[in-house]
């Protein structure tokens, strides 16, 4: 989609135009759902987070001052995911990373038709949460490393290192397969 078209849709959203909001959902709904699903491994939770994201978009769009819309949207998605994670942590009193991983894996197994059907989900669950999040943000938002680093407020070298380390580990966990 041309940048100009996206800008006119965003202007429409700022005016509260319902058709423009629908277009945003059509454009970003699948990618954002994929991002949430790969982070949580749970379809129902991903559906809730997706709804929350787009409702928040309606509330916050007036504050969007230009720049990368992808970056703005996925930064909001990332905040929503971390809020969810904190809520889950409080709720289940899982305070350490190991327990969080266990929970993630159990959710993954429970919600998938079979291990082979989505083997990558289990492998992603074995990565550190922040590494997993950066890899998935890069993949689904299609942001550049610089944009991701800016969004995370970290040096670009750190982002590059996390993505490289994470993807390398992911391939190892998948047994070196790419298919």
């Amino acid at each position: 989609m041309a940048q100009q078209d996206l800008e006119s849709i965003i202007i429409g959203c700022k005016k509260g135009d319902q058709a423009c909001f629908s277009q945003i959902v059509d454009l970003y709904g699948k990618r954002c759902f994929g991002y949430f699903y790969r982070l949580t491994g749970n379809r129902e939770v991903s559906e809730d987070l997706l709804s929350e994201l787009f409702v928040k978009l309606v509330e916050k769009i007036a504050g969007y001052k230009g720049g990368s819309f992808n970056g703005w949207l996925f930064a909001m998605a990332s905040n929503i995911f971390y809020d969810h994670l904190r809520f889950k942590q409080r709720q289940s009193r899982l305070l350490d990373e190991h327990k969080r991983r266990l929970e993630f894996e159990s959710l993954t197994v429970k919600n998938l038709p079979g291990d082979e059907a989505d083997k990558i989900q289990a492998a992603l669950g074995k990565l550190d949460a922040d590494v997993r999040e950066v890899i998935l943000m890069r993949f689904y938002s299609q942001l550049s490393f610089k944009e991701i680093a800016d969004s995370k407020g970290e040096p670009i070298g750190t982002t590059l290192s996390k993505v490289h380390r994470g993807l390398k580990r992911l391939r190892e966990l998948m047994g070196g397969s790419e298919l």
Binding site: G16, Q18, F21, S22, V25, D26, G29, K30, F33, G34, Y35, Y37, R38, R43, S46, E47, L50, S51, F54, V55, L57, V58, E59, D118, K119, I120, I135, R138, F139, Q142, L143, S144, F145, K146, E147, I156, G157, L160, V163, H164, G166, L167, K168, L170, R171, M174, S177, E178, L179
Partner: protein, 172 residues
């Protein structure tokens, strides 16, 4: 799309040796290929329709909140204007109705200070001083009663007295 925006190898080369940059770029590309080959499930059409519906509700709520905020802002501005204008009118009325001691002195013609008959002047001055003291007392009373909002009549009385004193004095 992200690779179109930046040359990964060039970017990595700014952090490491060219051979390492190539190897790291390959690792990243192969990892991302893995993610492409294992696509995440897609949301159902029902979910997307529900999301759109929720957005419509949120947009309606936002419009309502914006409207309420504007009404409150207008009400606040109107209230401020009302208070300021009332205060301004009150101050203006007070300035119109009170007579300061300076104004009383200004009522005395310049010729009073230029009289040649000293003995007559002394007697007149004594009378005038008594009248001035009397007027000063009246002004004090007026200022005190001003807080009760009944100053207009008292001010008129004082003004009348001043005029009388002035007339008597110049008659001799």
């Amino acid at each position: 799309m992200n690779n179109e925006k930046e040359n990964l190898r060039e970017l990595l080369a700014s952090f490491m040796a060219p051979e390492d940059a190539n190897k790291t770029a390959e690792d990243i590309e192969r990892g991302e290929k893995l993610l492409r080959n294992w696509p995440a499930p897609t949301p159902s059409e029902t979910l997307l329709a529900e999301v759109k519906q929720k957005m419509a509700v949120a947009a309606g709520r936002r419009r309502m909140v914006t409207f309420q905020r504007r009404v409150l802002e207008l009400a606040a501005v109107a209230a401020t204007i009302l208070v300021v204008s009332t205060a301004a009118i009150k101050i203006w009325e007070n300035r119109q109705s009170t007579l300061s001691p300076d104004k009383i002195v200004a009522l005395i013609p310049d010729s009073a200070w230029e009289g040649g008959d000293v003995s007559k002047s002394d007697a007149d001055i004594a009378v005038l001083s008594a009248e001035i003291d009397n007027v000063a007392d009246e002004i004090s009373n007026v200022l005190l009663s001003d807080k009760n909002g009944s100053s207009a009549a008292a001010v008129s009385d004082v003004e009348m007295q001043i005029i009388e004193v002035s007339a008597d004095f110049w008659k001799g």
